[in-house]
């Protein structure tokens, strides 16, 4: 029996390897340098190259955009084992994910667990096909780390909800088609109860967005305003006033996404960058202090990757290591921040250029600035440490 299963998996691995080698365009195997190189789909979605379009279409036809979702929801129906093999093989070649969408990484898992069958059939296939680009409406001006303090109100008006309020830090809201939102449907009870999970079409009357300019000079985030927006009752996911349960579940997926779990494209080794641009003395980087920091960084980077693998292997064998998503979010983003700090030191004067052509309009400097948000978005470092201390270590609240 066991041998039969193993043969099946081995065959799948060999077939997958061959298919990827035959079908993944070479340019789609190179490391991505910034998020604009990724395909996000949506009503106004554009491919940044022909190869990207080809790669998306081939993967869509193969049903491997979201390989582990059921076929009826547009997925490939792969088992966990096969999905892991596909991930490993994509990682081996460095294949980029063909489609990024918060609908895949965040909303999808929450809908699979909490939405009605009708809602799943209605929304999930469109996500897979890249038709709808989603954004997330969680934080508010007075609800950041204290998320449950949110005040955006949804009043029951019989056959629809009337939504009024504003959201902040909505990633790519100006490009998104729909938003999944936490709204207050009951303000008479404690703050964690009385929250509901609502899906809203960004094209609805009364929805507007305003970009937030970051220290990087770019605006990946927006403020989103809801001015008496009518939302059909059918857009409520899960039980009324029990949205906090969905919110927390979805947050674990957001943390994993930000922590870089499941990424298959290859990261650039900063030691290679250092070897190329820095002077050496008897084969050793002349800046020996930086050299030891690079070595320590790459040690942690490699061991963190092993830890992701170990956790997936443990889950597969039915054990839970307890290495929760909070830790992955913390450590993955911390490494990202450290990497950019070290790259500034490695590249010296050229790394802080802001708008020259040679620097591709200050690409490195701007990305460095952007990483400073990594330890804040999706729950700050401090919030993640609180969660580990309380939920995993069981440390007391008083």
């Amino acid at each position: 029996m066991e041998t039969k299963v193993n043969t099946d998996l081995t065959n799948f691995r060999m077939e997958t390897r061959k298919w990827l080698e035959d079908n993944c365009p070479l340019s789609m195997r190179e490391p991505t340098k910034d998020p604009s190189q990724l395909y996000w789909g949506g009503r106004n979605g554009e491919f940044s190259s022909d190869d990207q379009k080809l790669w998306f279409e081939r993967m869509l036809e193969k049903k491997w955009i979201v390989p582990y979702w059921k076929v009826k929801y547009g997925g490939g129906g792969l088992s966990i084992e096969k999905n892991n093999i596909l991930n490993q093989e994509m990682g081996r070649l460095g294949c980029r994910k063909p489609h990024y969408n918060f609908g895949i990484s965040m909303l999808g898992p929450a809908m699979l667990k909490f939405a009605s069958e009708e809602q799943k059939l209605n929304y999930l296939p469109d996500i897979v096909q890249g038709k709808i680009r989603w954004c997330q409406g969680y934080s508010e001006p007075n609800a950041g780390s204290d998320l449950a303090n949110l005040q955006t109100k949804a009043e029951d008006k019989g056959d629809y909800f009337l939504v009024t309020g504003s959201k902040v830090w909505t990633s790519y809201a100006e490009k998104a088609d729909w938003i999944f939102c936490l709204v207050r449907t009951d303000s008479s009870c404690s703050k964690h109860t009385g929250i509901s999970f609502l899906l809203i079409d960004m094209a609805s009357e009364g929805v507007s967005t305003r970009p937030i300019k970051l220290i990087s000079g770019k605006s990946p985030f927006c403020e989103t305003f809801f001015d008496s927006v009518k939302v059909p009752k059918a857009n409520l996911v899960g039980t009324l006033n029990d949205g906090w349960t969905i919110a927390k579940y979805l947050l674990t997926h957001e943390r994993q996404m930000i922590g870089g779990i499941g990424e298959t494209d290859k990261k650039l080794h900063i030691s290679n960058e250092a070897i190329n641009v820095m002077s050496k003395n008897n084969g050793i980087l002349s800046d020996t202090i930086l050299r030891s920091k690079i070595s320590e960084f790459e040690m942690n980077e490699e061991i963190f990757d092993l830890t992701i693998r170990r956790t997936m292997d443990e889950e597969k064998s039915g054990n839970n290591s307890g290495a929760a998503s909070s830790f992955f979010k913390y450590y993955g983003t911390e490494l990202n921040i450290q990497r950019e700090e070290l790259r500034l030191k490695i590249n010296g004067f050229s790394s802080t250029e802001w708008n020259s052509k040679a620097s591709e309009n200050g690409k490195q400097a701007r990305y460095f600035c952007r990483t400073k948000g990594n330890s804040i978005e999706g729950g700050t470092h401090e919030v993640q440490l609180n969660i580990i201390a309380k939920r995993i270590l069981g440390l007391p609240t008083k």
């Binding site: 980087l285 070595s295 320590e296 092993l306 292997d313 443990e314 993640q384 609180n386 007391p396």
Partner: protein, 374 residues
């Protein structure tokens, strides 16, 4: 290979834990210390031999259990939790590893037999100087008539004072090869200077003055000494990392439990965020430690060509996290943490010794950079 231990390895881990809980809790380490730094408990060692620990990594061909290093690593991790003192590092981890790499079949099967049945203890003497640096080798073996003679001085030999056999490295006369020979500890010309270290264990500086070595007592053969030595060091480092993983986890768990009990200002001190965040950070680092130790142990068993890299990753990471956790453990215990009555100080004192053994974090970070050519 999946990064998990299999059922047999899990069973070995559990039986080791049960055995050590009963026979070698931390209090028994304290007892040895109080008994004028007794080097080890012979009855306990013979029970470990009975458990099969000396045979774990020896191939079946020599009547060993051939259980592999992932298995031995589980034993080391549990021993690290109890700070258990025994000759297992010197005799099993270092010596049987080195012997198994040798082509001298007669010597090999004789030594394996004596080690497995517990009649002899053995250690490896390589380090010269006060830092681990395998490049430094001044000991010399030269030919004199029908014999070879060994001259040199070795430092920090683990269990040197109790070992029956000393496996010694030295240069040949031209300096072109590393030679490895087995010396009977009672040979004429072997002088010991035994020193108790901070971890209550005894290490020896050993001087060899014209010690006669018979032709058939060499474990190296036709210039393979350097390779044997390097691989032995790599494997030993991984075994030490497994012990350190046990040290780290136990010290951390003892500390977290203390934070849940100790009250100040009318509340449990574990409710203070200043302590909670430091604990959460340590939790994460320990997750990383578990991953690299297992990966490195698997690399030994699968004969991975990157063994040296994984070995250095393991020793570097575990060294720096053991430093962190042993310090935090004492600090979070407050005043009680610096008293001899509390066990937590033993973890700190073992930590600093095992951290420097076969290269500290700096040594291995440097080695990792060299492996990647920068």
């Amino acid at each position: 290979m999946a990064l998990i231990i299999n059922e047999e390895q899990q069973m070995l881990k559990e039986s080791t834990k049960e055995f050590l809980d009963l026979k070698s809790p931390i209090s028994s380490m304290r007892k040895l210390r109080n008994n004028n730094f007794q080097t080890y408990n012979k009855e306990l060692w013979m029970e470990m031999v009975e458990m099969g620990w000396t045979a774990l990594t020896i191939p079946e061909k020599y009547n060993g259990l051939n259980f592999g290093y992932v298995g031995l690593g589980q034993v080391f991790e549990e021993m690290g939790r109890k700070l258990s003192i025994s000759p297992i590092i010197s005799t099993v981890l270092m010596s049987t590893t080195l012997i198994s790499l040798s082509k001298n079949e007669i010597l090999k099967s004789n030594l394996f037999k004596e080690i497995m049945n517990g009649t002899k203890l053995s250690t490896v003497a390589h380090d010269e100087g006060v830092h681990h640096n395998p490049e430094i080798l001044n000991s010399l073996i030269s030919k004199e008539g029908d014999f070879f003679v060994l001259n040199g001085k070795k430092n920090f030999v683990i269990d040197g004072s109790i070992s029956d056999y000393l496996i010694v490295t030295a240069n040949n006369e031209s300096g072109s090869n590393v030679l490895i020979c087995v010396v009977d500890s009672k040979s004429t010309g072997v002088e010991y200077n035994n020193k108790v270290h901070m971890d209550s264990r005894t290490y020896s500086d050993i001087t060899f003055n014209n010690v006669k070595i018979k032709n058939d007592n060499f474990l190296s053969f036709e210039g393979d000494g350097k390779l044997i030595l390097e691989k032995t060091l790599d494997i030993t480092r991984i075994g030490l990392a497994a012990e350190m993983l046990g040290n780290i986890q136990e010290a951390f768990e003892i500390t977290v439990n203390y934070l849940k009990e100790r009250e100040q200002f009318g509340v449990k001190i574990g409710s203070f965020q200043a302590l909670q965040h430091r604990c959460a950070l340590m939790f994460g680092e320990i997750e990383l430690c578990k991953s690299i130790v297992l990966k490195a142990l698997q690399a030994i068993d699968s004969n991975d060509s990157s063994l040296s890299k994984y070995s250095s990753l393991a020793k570097a990471k575990l060294g720096s996290i053991l430093q962190l956790v042993s310090n935090e453990a004492v600090q979070m215990h407050g005043g009680i943490g610096v008293t001899d009555d509390a066990d937590i100080g033993f973890f700190l004192k073992r930590a600093r010794v095992v951290q420097s053994m076969l290269g500290d974090s700096n040594f291995h970070l440097d080695k990792l950079a060299k492996i990647k050519n920068y």
